[in-house]
């Protein structure tokens, strides 16, 4: 049955170049988007510093990884960066709490308009970006070690006898598993614990939360803790997958915000779904379908070009287009978030 093998080959090809990368990129976006959404719904501003804070946390992870590597500590087939992550979470938490203390708290106490705080966060974004470049420079850094692949294309081909291989990078596997666990934890926390419910209550109706005896300072603190954990893990996973570069973290802001808006601003589940909508759109639009179609179509119909809708340089345009479409057609997003 050569046609059946062709279909299998096409499916494997699709998984290898589109579905697996989109799943892992989507998970990274989802974690970042979840952090943005939490800040938005509890602290009531869109945090433009998200991408650069991710870079900050990743820089701490990279430095700690180097220290660990130099002292001969490794984590088996897993990247050493995973061991360094707790240090980065603490550093990131200290950083965001410091920023909150010296920047956002002032505006909160003044009852400033959200747009004022957003502008302050743009300032924080530039400062953070500056610190990141000052410490590690603007160049590309690869800090993943351990086994690069869980399954390589060659192993997969030998196992299945197909002519196409499916490779799963350790970073991709880690991204998806850690993201699932983390999102599960955040949702459990928000839905079931008293502190999580207090956070939602505070986000729902600030004055009534005060009347009910909820301490706003504690809610703000817990929010930053969650944000620091999400931000660090999102940053490190993205860096393990694609390498670290200050500018690419900065640019993550666009797809992250697009994910938040597509999913519905202020809706945690929307942020997750939005992340995957953006990642799958980016990859389906920039993937070259030539080989895929060759497997599926009869020889006479085989395409001669690459069959690629957009070249990968335009991937940010896709976030923009989705953003425009959603804002025109369904401004509340998929899960009926707030409208700014």
């Amino acid at each position: 049955m050569p046609w059946f093998t062709d279909i299998l080959n096409a499916v494997v090809l699709m998984c290898n170049f589109m579905i697996v990368p989109a799943l892992s990129y989507g998970s990274q976006l989802a974690l970042g988007a979840l952090a943005v959404t939490l800040v938005y719904s509890v602290l009531r501003f869109a945090n433009f510093a998200q991408g650069d804070t991710m870079a900050f946390a990743t820089v701490v992870t990279i430095l700690s990884t180097w220290v660990l590597q130099n002292s001969g500590i490794s984590f088996g087939f897993m990247p050493t960066a995973i061991l360094a992550m707790p240090i980065a979470v603490i550093a990131c938490l200290a950083y965001v709490l410091l920023i909150d203390k010296f920047v956002y708290e002032y505006y909160r106490n003044q009852n400033s308009k959200p747009i004022t705080i957003v502008m302050a966060s743009v300032g924080v974004m530039f400062i953070t970006g500056g610190i990141v470049r000052f410490v590690l420079g603007p160049s590309h850094q690869i800090f993943s070690d351990g086994a690069r692949f869980i399954i390589t294309t060659r192993e997969f081909k030998e196992m299945t006898g197909l002519s196409e291989g499916l490779a799963i990078k350790t970073s991709q596997f880690l991204t998806v598993t850690i993201a699932i666990m983390l999102v599960g934890f955040v949702f459990y926390f928000l839905q079931k614990t008293k502190t999580g419910k207090a956070m939602r209550a505070y986000s729902d109706n600030e004055n009534l939360a005060l009347l009910s005896g909820i301490d706003p300072a504690k809610v703000v603190r817990v929010t930053w803790i969650l944000v620091a954990v999400l931000t660090t893990i999102a940053g490190v996973l993205y860096g393990l997958d694609k390498g670290f570069m200050a500018i690419s973290y900065h640019q993550l802001l666009l797809p992250t915000f697009a994910a938040v808006i597509v999913g519905g601003i202020g809706s945690p589940i929307g942020a997750i779904v939005g992340g995957f909508v953006i990642s799958f759109s980016e990859l389906t639009m920039t993937y070259a379908y030539k080989k895929f179609l060759i497997y599926l179509l009869p020889e006479a119909l085989e395409p001669s070009g690459l069959v690629q809708f957009l070249s990968t340089e335009y991937k940010f345009a896709i976030s923009f287009v989705i953003l425009v479409i959603v804002l025109l057609l369904r401004p509340t997003g998929i899960f009926k978030g707030k409208v700014i």
């Binding site: 008293k194 419910k197 729902d204 109706n205 004055n207 009534l208 009347l211 009910s212 005896g213």
Partner: protein, 235 residues
């Protein structure tokens, strides 16, 4: 001596002209007291002073004969005061049950008993306990608001215009619920715009004008008073 009383209160927002001038209100357990009056008379301000959201410059707030004038809002809530604001009195994206839990946020003991009491008083809330409060009707939402306030096991409930902006049918429903709150042995003090209906069910009524007690009496007396009728109840 009344259970909760505000005695000779004078209060102002930020050094401006006093909103309340030597104003006194009181309410006992199992009693419904209503404050009515024209716009700007300081009706809601009375509540804010009783609750401690606004500090009075003169006078005092007494609960069970003890002066609570200097205590914070949170402290007064733990002592048995509960407040249902006029608007935004529920957490719309949380379920009925979660709203009740949030009402009991400061409590560390078992809250299931109190929750049962609330469900007994408002059976519809039990039916809708897992539904988001934002999806309930106006009257049901008001019950959820009452329920949330009841979770601190209050002895006094302060209601700020509970029937503002609802239809006449829902208004009757809400007044019915307020009577149930009263019959459960709590002291209920409310500010109302629908003066006539409110005074009909009130044990005590206060007509406030420019921050002072203009007329005081039982609800029936006030309704029967020709001056009150003419000036405040539309003849």
């Amino acid at each position: 001596m009344a259970y909760l009383s505000g005695e000779n209160i004078t209060a102002a927002y930020d050094y401006s002209v006093p909103i309340l001038n030597d104003c006194s209100v009181e309410v006992n357990k199992g009693e419904l007291a209503v404050i009515v009056g024209p716009n700007g008379a300081g009706k809601s301000t009375v509540m804010k002073v009783l609750l401690g959201m606004l500090k009075q410059s003169k006078g005092s707030v007494m609960l069970e004969g003890k002066d609570i004038s200097k205590l914070s809002v949170q402290k007064r809530i733990t002592l048995g005061l509960a407040f249902v604001p006029q608007t935004d009195n529920v957490f719309p994206t949380m379920t009925v049950e979660e709203n009740l839990e949030m009402g009991a946020f400061l409590r560390t003991d078992d809250i299931s008993k109190t929750m049962e009491e609330v469900y007994e008083l408002f059976p519809i809330l039990y039916e809708r306990s897992n539904q988001l409060v934002g999806q309930l009707s106006g009257g049901q939402r008001q019950q959820a608001a009452f329920g949330r306030a009841m979770m601190t096991k209050p002895t006094v409930m302060l209601l700020d215009e509970p029937t503002a902006g609802v239809s006449p049918i829902v208004m009757d429903e809400i007044f019915g619920n307020i009577l149930r709150l009263k019959k459960s042995g709590r002291a209920v003090l409310m500010v109302e715009q629908n003066a006539k209906q409110a005074l009909t069910i009130a044990d005590k009524g206060y007509v406030l004008v420019s921050g002072s007690n203009e007329h005081t009496g039982t609800g029936k007396e006030l309704i029967a008073d020709p001056v009150v009728r003419k000036s405040f109840l539309g003849g």
